[in-house]
Amino acid sequence: MTALRRRGPDWLLNVYAGLGLIYLLVPIAIIIVFSFNQPRGRFNFIWQEFSLNAWKDPFAVPGIGDALRNSLEIAALSTLGATILGTLTALALVRYEFKGRAPVNFFIFIPLATPEVVLGAALLSNFLNLGTPQLGFATILIAHIMFNLSFVVITVRSRLIGFDRSLEEAAQDLGATPWETFRLVTLPLIMPGVVSAALLAFALSIDDFVITYFNNGSTITFPLFIWGAARVAIPPQIYVIATMIFLFTVAMMLITVWQQRRAEKMAAVRPDEPELAAEPAPA
């Protein structure tokens, strides 16, 4: 880290980090700006003039509306499926001692370490050899639940690890059945983890291109639509819809953060630890 040279001025590092942040954000800003462009020609690469045309009619491009609808439906259904299956798996892994837990933990992790192109190709081999189901909406959905599952398990599991089991025991001592204990005690406590897992799954699903590309048949999702368009023509409407998805995600994110913070404030029993966050100054 040359930026941390001895006695190097402090602000130099801040400036360097700031440039890194700008690198991350500029391409996003460009998408938003270029959604207001009125491109001449088929590609939206060069700024011409400000226009609201694309925003007034974002679905003017044939096929773009269907693609977006497919994406949203698949994202919603795969989120639901993966969240349920993944939460059950996480519960089993954290709450119970059983034979084979370590290998299962390892097995859950492998899909995350597998390149997407391999996941997609393997699933396609599978569907081609079995012949069923027909490549299309169903196979995309199967694939999305598959790759989302491990993410859900890991997210929920991390939430379950600090879980205080005495609360469940208390409920059982007070006469609650196992199901009541789960519904009234366990589930509310792990809910924040489940919600963040579901949000992650939704975001991953709506963004996925590679695995979908291998298993889509003739069904087109929004990323596949962009892929097809990228060689032929890139209308500004693509940027408009991307901006809309972006704003929606930011809103969802802020609402979750805000709600979790409120929930934490309400649940704060433990006093705050003394703040040790600041970087100590060199002697």
């Binding site: 190097g8 980090a17 089993a92 059983f98 192109v117 694939a143």
Partner: protein, 290 residues
């Protein structure tokens, strides 16, 4: 007795749906793809399982260039992501103060925009008549005829960008956990800034470095979107080959063999990297607990 049995069976029942799904749609497909990689034939005559292990050696000799390029590009992108990401994670973790969460949110903002769109945005930025190229031409770094799009530069820049948040988040997580009293102790012992960084901060953040580099390197090595949109066939990586062998040429055995070769190489690289960096990383976490 039945109640106890039911209790013993409960974890397996909970596991069944999720694990079953992964078996059916992850493990078994990998097995089927392995058989696929040992077949011979064409899409017209059909494929037959002949245990043709030569598919692997053929695939390797035909596409060793793309393999090497994949690992070169992924390695470069991982290095650049580390050089950009570490200082950024450091500043957010140690100097972010009450803005830490907001800054972290900015780091993941790119994830809110579809991957392909982010890449198209780079096509806009680096395009021949764009601001970057014309500026670099004025300074003289890029010649009058020169371009950035469709070169190694554009593909590596795209990959670096797309996976950068994967680098920053684990780095931040490990830096943020460091007990700041350790740094104070370093300074109290008259450690200079550089010494404290090299001997305290960096070793303690090694778990983040290992996680971040792996999370960047693995998907980067299998990527084909950046090479396709920001490059030409001269920049194609192994992902491009697998994709076109599978979906355009329908040469399934070669594509399947390439997929397994990719996984095998990746595993080897990951193991070597874990050996080099992992031991220190483990020591780092141990030191932190004490």
């Amino acid at each position: 007795m039945p109640a106890r049995l039911r209790k013993a069976a409960l974890p397996y029942l909970l596991l069944l749906p999720g694990l079953g799904w992964l078996l059916l749609f992850f493990a078994i497909p990998l097995g089927i793809m392995f058989l696929e990689s040992l077949k011979t034939g064409t899409i017209d005559t059909g494929f037959e399982l002949t245990w043709a292990f030569s598919n692997y050696t053929d695939a390797l000799s035909d596409y060793n260039e793309q393999f090497l390029r994949s690992f070169e590009y992924a390695g470069l992108a991982t290095l650049f992501a580390l050089l950009i990401g570490y200082p950024l994670a450091y500043v957010i973790a140690f100097r972010g103060g009450r803005y830490r969460n907001a800054l972290l949110l900015l780091v993941i903002v790119p994830f809110f925009v579809t991957y392909l769109i982010r890449t198209l945005s780079w096509e806009t930025i680096l395009s021949d008549s764009g601001l970057v190229v014309s500026t670099l031409q004025t300074i003289g770094i890029v010649s009058e005829e020169g371009r950035l799009l469709d070169t190694t530069v554009s593909v590596v820049a795209g990959i670096t960008y797309n996976y950068l948040p994967f680098m920053i988040l684990p780095l931040y997580a490990s830096l943020e956990r460091i007990d700041k009293r350790m740094l104070e102790a370093g300074y109290d012992l008259y450690g200079r800034r550089r010494d404290v960084f090299l001997r305290v901060t960096l070793p303690l953040s090694m778990p983040g470095v290992v996680a971040g580099t792996l999370l960047t390197f693995i998907p980067a090595a299998g990527d084909f979107i950046n090479a396709e949109l920001l490059g030409t066939p001269r920049q194609f990586m192994i992902g491009n080959v697998i994709q076109s062998r599978y979906l355009e040429v329908a040469d399934y055995p070669t594509a399947a063999a390439l997929s397994f070769l990719l996984m095998a190489f990746m595993l080897i690289i990951v193991l070597i990297w874990a050996r080099i960096a992992g031991t220190e990383a483990l020591l780092g976490t141990e030191g932190e607990r004490k």
